[in-house]
Symmetry: D3
Amino acid sequence: MKYQPKDSSKTPRFCGLRTFMRLPHVKTTENVDFAVMGVPFDTAASFRGGARFGPQSVREASMLLRPYNLEMDVNIFDHCSGVDYGDLDVVPGYIHETYDLMVKQLKPIYEAGVVPLCIGGDHSITLGELRAIKEVRGPVALIHFDSHTDTWDNYWGMKYTHGTPFRRAFEEGCLIGDRTIQIGMRGPLYQPGDVNDSKDLGFEVLTAGDIHRKGIEYTAEMIQKTVGDTPVLVSFDIDFLDPAYAPGTGTPEIGGFTTWEACEIIRKGLKGLNIVGFDLVEVAPSLDAGEITSFAASGILFEFISVLADKKRMESNK
Amino acid sequence: MKYQPKDSSKTPRFCGLRTFMRLPHVKTTENVDFAVMGVPFDTAASFRGGARFGPQSVREASMLLRPYNLEMDVNIFDHCSGVDYGDLDVVPGYIHETYDLMVKQLKPIYEAGVVPLCIGGDHSITLGELRAIKEVRGPVALIHFDSHTDTWDNYWGMKYTHGTPFRRAFEEGCLIGDRTIQIGMRGPLYQPGDVNDSKDLGFEVLTAGDIHRKGIEYTAEMIQKTVGDTPVLVSFDIDFLDPAYAPGTGTPEIGGFTTWEACEIIRKGLKGLNIVGFDLVEVAPSLDAGEITSFAASGILFEFISVLADKKRMESNK
Amino acid sequence: MKYQPKDSSKTPRFCGLRTFMRLPHVKTTENVDFAVMGVPFDTAASFRGGARFGPQSVREASMLLRPYNLEMDVNIFDHCSGVDYGDLDVVPGYIHETYDLMVKQLKPIYEAGVVPLCIGGDHSITLGELRAIKEVRGPVALIHFDSHTDTWDNYWGMKYTHGTPFRRAFEEGCLIGDRTIQIGMRGPLYQPGDVNDSKDLGFEVLTAGDIHRKGIEYTAEMIQKTVGDTPVLVSFDIDFLDPAYAPGTGTPEIGGFTTWEACEIIRKGLKGLNIVGFDLVEVAPSLDAGEITSFAASGILFEFISVLADKKRMESNK
Amino acid sequence: MKYQPKDSSKTPRFCGLRTFMRLPHVKTTENVDFAVMGVPFDTAASFRGGARFGPQSVREASMLLRPYNLEMDVNIFDHCSGVDYGDLDVVPGYIHETYDLMVKQLKPIYEAGVVPLCIGGDHSITLGELRAIKEVRGPVALIHFDSHTDTWDNYWGMKYTHGTPFRRAFEEGCLIGDRTIQIGMRGPLYQPGDVNDSKDLGFEVLTAGDIHRKGIEYTAEMIQKTVGDTPVLVSFDIDFLDPAYAPGTGTPEIGGFTTWEACEIIRKGLKGLNIVGFDLVEVAPSLDAGEITSFAASGILFEFISVLADKKRMESNK
Amino acid sequence: MKYQPKDSSKTPRFCGLRTFMRLPHVKTTENVDFAVMGVPFDTAASFRGGARFGPQSVREASMLLRPYNLEMDVNIFDHCSGVDYGDLDVVPGYIHETYDLMVKQLKPIYEAGVVPLCIGGDHSITLGELRAIKEVRGPVALIHFDSHTDTWDNYWGMKYTHGTPFRRAFEEGCLIGDRTIQIGMRGPLYQPGDVNDSKDLGFEVLTAGDIHRKGIEYTAEMIQKTVGDTPVLVSFDIDFLDPAYAPGTGTPEIGGFTTWEACEIIRKGLKGLNIVGFDLVEVAPSLDAGEITSFAASGILFEFISVLADKKRMESNK
Amino acid sequence: MKYQPKDSSKTPRFCGLRTFMRLPHVKTTENVDFAVMGVPFDTAASFRGGARFGPQSVREASMLLRPYNLEMDVNIFDHCSGVDYGDLDVVPGYIHETYDLMVKQLKPIYEAGVVPLCIGGDHSITLGELRAIKEVRGPVALIHFDSHTDTWDNYWGMKYTHGTPFRRAFEEGCLIGDRTIQIGMRGPLYQPGDVNDSKDLGFEVLTAGDIHRKGIEYTAEMIQKTVGDTPVLVSFDIDFLDPAYAPGTGTPEIGGFTTWEACEIIRKGLKGLNIVGFDLVEVAPSLDAGEITSFAASGILFEFISVLADKKRMESNK
């Protein structure tokens, strides 16, 4: 038995409730390879909020997704079964309560070997995922797409914000430092240390300049090299994209990437990796224009899922 | 057993898939008093379209609805069980195929005595509802809120558009002419006949001027008087409201009504009536501003449901 | 021979070039009773500009206009012939050059006895109209709908801005002071004199408070009483309406009027008057929301034209 | 020495940094009657956030304010000196830390007898104000404009949200229950108790229905009667206004009030009262349309300040 | 005699009715080389509609076009005469009636040897053009820019939608299969066959990946090679562009092209070809952001016209 | 003593009045290296206006700027002191009066050796800057980023518009022709002369095609080569960027540049030059989408300032 999207050649895509990609909304881990879910928590945003409505708008945009990936030549549901798991419960305004709820809800999913795709919410949610993963399987590798490192020590004296999760995660033993790579950093920083700090934690850092100058192939190789076959979480902050491609986010930074570049890096950089989870964060629909941010986000999730399906195919072909 | 909304004091209202009012999405008529459903068909719009996305946006706005109606002093789910039935299948671009599908899908609902609340879609869908009702129980009364009579004979020679459903419905024997009332007509017309035509069909017509000058109480009384205890369909075109209250619609007309006025007319004019169905049509989110049209629409549906609950209470108190 | 709109029951209203009300675009005064024209000049705006695109957006909204006025029971083109005259040439950035061009272009129209309906543009254009009228027929009465008196002496030392046209017009002998009425004044002022100044010029002033408290009938009577049978120009600043009804304007003031109220005042207050011209100014589409300002403007122009047609009918019935 | 706005007849209103009403930005309480300040905290919003950008957008809209109030016939700066005090420091995401900061920053202002006008932020900030006031002068009366009572006990188990401040304030001894009046309640509620709860605390409650049916004069009298000469805080949630007049807010409720109605209630209901502070909350610019919410908010603050000036005039005339 | 735009150094470009590029609106084929016209039909859209307002918004954006093409060093009106022909009549909601009207209206244009530039409308209109061309001159070559092949067999069982025109056209003998090239395909598909189907019809297909990797020169050469000197129709779906460059369309697909890339492909790939018609479809202004889609569309039409002028120059230089 | 931004790790960036980059608002030239100021004049716009609100929106976006430039490895405030100088006074609607005011206000700034960064306003303001510079230090070099040359002789007979400043500046002896370079020209032109005219004045012109084909390094070298060590003004029209990156401007032209390309050209092309002033013009917030134009503008100003700081560092290292 396999969960797959409703057939859009039978009913129009704008018909029916908005589940991700028109997948069935089933709260199960049985016979499921991946589960898309919302984590509508945006209390930790340091500038503009609104990402609590990210899951809803990404689902809306995902109505346009179809099952076959032309570039990877893979039909997702030939190899995978997937569901829309709904949203995780959160407590708006209260980060610690939310982290506790996240861990409680995510652990059974990771334990079941299902790959969750969490739609944020702000970037603080990744710490909740990493804590749950750690409880299930210990520290993991990380591939982090973003314009910011999010490894500040604190904001206004507060240790838990959307600018600090990766430092916290490292301190809590959730991350393997030298299996962690951060990609896309750019924009004005507080000080040189903003990037150096990540390096001090052992992280590989590819700045936007590195990628613009050395190219997609290089970037993909660096990801593969850093992560190897370590189990890995992939975290994608939508502000990795240039604001022209993703205006609907809290802290946009100019000089970023196109969706074509992002998708190519994903397709090549993530191919065959041992991925335990994905997230895509910081989509804030009330700041969007022409819904392009939500369309970009749903397209990137489609590439993530395609990578999973491709891996399954490779495994079944062995 | 009773279907009712998720408890928003337990989980935030922005958590989870968007069903109307956070009701369970169950495609059943068992133990159900009312069923909210989308009819995302907008092919028949004569000017600006986009109402196929009405159901989605009204559901989104309905997250804010709570169960107790202060003005009517009624808690809906003390008296009613309700579900989100999802959307009816439609065939975009093809009105006759869509009508056939509508009748097929709606008949069992009317037969089960469940009251459907159809969210359009454009106003052509009301003919589909009326055909289904006719098959189940014969011609009915009609309460029609709108700025237009929608009783033109044809548009560009075509008999089936969103400007003609009530003439067609009358011709097809779906309506009891002298139990039909049209409320809110205004704006430039093609000719005097536009209103006279309705009168020729036996319809009662209250123009916007009538209502602005004679008031809400008068309007409510005229509705009660016209309909009496005949089974009645209520059809609400969102352009009954002034464009300041509902810009997100295809053919707005200035000089209209506030949401307070609309709700008062509903609460008083519909109280105790023998209502077999409701619809709310012509919400076009891509033309909206500040989402106020969708909020207005969801609030009006709330009043409709409250009227149903109030009726149930009256019946159970007998 | 009569100029009238294309028949929208034959071709959809969204088909074809945007002329006002789908009238023929003919640059003639022969066989013409009224001529709609744009005056896309907004250099004189003191705060937010953009009204140079007013004519285009009002024309776009006017696609929805049909020929019969329900409230006045008059079919415009039974009594009138009307054209879209296009836009007057203006010189953006240069007010004096623009005034000269306006007078040159408007004089032949007033001389031909055609009633122009000028779509602004900012409120400075009314001085151009009044100068042309004065040359043709001397000083006239004025009915001025607005939230501001626009009778300041100067702004930043400059005598010609959109806040000064009526003082200049009075000084230049274009206006008959005691046949001038200003309606709708409200909002914070610089000083009490802002209204008193108008009174010193002999103008009647009805503040928003007067109208809200004394009502539409009173307002209509005051207009009729002030103007009598003197030839009169009607100038309508869209910010007479409340920002909820007309956000797309440069200097909105809360506490204003609904479109129903505006239309009723026009229908009753202007009935039978000897009107030589109309203008509707300060629609700034880039500041609009849901296009409601443009719809309001086109609806108000429709009432103006209906008043003309009603007058013609009265005259032909004598 | 008196602080007053820059003269807009000398420099255009769009020139210069955005202080409220073009007042000097001075962080002093010397020679100051009122001080406008932002409290950009929106962590406690239960549905849509974004009010942290309220102060900025209200300041932007306030560029249009001039010093003379036509309806009250008072020139504010003949009687008052006022400053833009800037924003209070807050800690986004952390409500208790923010409350502590608020009390620390507000106490010296209340102690100096300066009247603060706090621009929110969400409605949770009022508890911070009330705590500071209590420390300075004990419990006070309250006039609360809103569509919600905000006296829920908790949301998702959390005691501190924007839906609970007035219950908390009462429990903490900040409010005099029978000197507290809540005005404008409407919309769907969780249960009858939502309003009854307020009554149990001794609060007077005027629902939207009460006001729509009994009128502005009645409402003003009820305010005056409830408050008497007790020192009073005035708290205005922008969702008191109808969404047509204020779409840019987190939890809009249809069936509300116009800006004219709000201003009239303020002018008459607050006249002569012993007011110790004001706030205006829940303006969320990213949800606004045509900036009308910010214009409405700045206009309401103008009426608040005018009431203060009017009181000063009355006192100086004694 | 030659038709050319109004001189914008004489009158401001925002003055006057909106014809394409300020060309004269003349419904003639005499002395005309190209005729721009709207085909405002969007009934066949499978997801988001609104392209019926495409012609109006592209005309509005085209006000900025000037006559000289810097990259091609050609002044269009040195070589061509062009008009705005207005819009073709269509029947909204009824595709077969519209096709019949299209053929009837287009045939005389093709017969006169005038090159029509049709502004859609959705992509179904291309079948109408191809039918008219076939009647006049038999099957032709096709250059099709799009992110989708639009060669599905049917949608929900319906043979005529905006996803099927090129399969229908091939079946009806309008197209020469091996003279047809489709360019830009990307995004999730239903199945591999979506592209293979086109290949089965003999079409050349360049996917987005092909173009991103092999470049503009390669793409231009493939076009030239496929088409040769066969008479050819050029059809440009605006979603060929990336959503960052064209958000205002019904079914955007990420990973697309910039306007620079599109214009370069047109300038080089179409140079010297024997072009019988152009269309540009799927611009939906109500979904646009910052009007960039309409500006992009008008700029692409400018390149089309420049290619025509360049061809004329080459011919006259022989 | 040094002026630098408020520390955003201490107070949230959305707290407080909007000065550029959170710099102190001080109207001084003492101890100041650079001074950011608004010049909110947009009277000279030939098509869409609104740039008078550019300074406000760029300041709002600049809240996100931090002091360290990752690509240039420079911390601005290690080497520079900077202030927000507020806005220059202007006279809306009157260009000559505004030029006089500009010269009067700018001269002391240039005399003090402070580098002003002027935020427009439309492009006409650059002539005001150049006149002031000429009075202080004679003619200078110019680096002009734009899609238009702005060297037309006149518009509608008027010599002073935003399309003519560089011709006027050359005629008035403000510019050294062969030290002037114009970069990015593209889009339809009136005639070949539009670019040739610039060449006739001795200006170097790099069209968009030149840059797209020859690359960033070439462009940077051409700038360095043309300017050498001559004192130079840098003028950046935001429409140098592609409309996808900067929709919020009056006359967008497709086929433009990304923010990454613009920043790279600035970093490399301007490095080490003897820069006397900058401006960034034509940001029109009311035409923007997702605020991306303002974010782009503030990011480009950040690169300008970084170039200044880098130069200071180089000088202090000598």
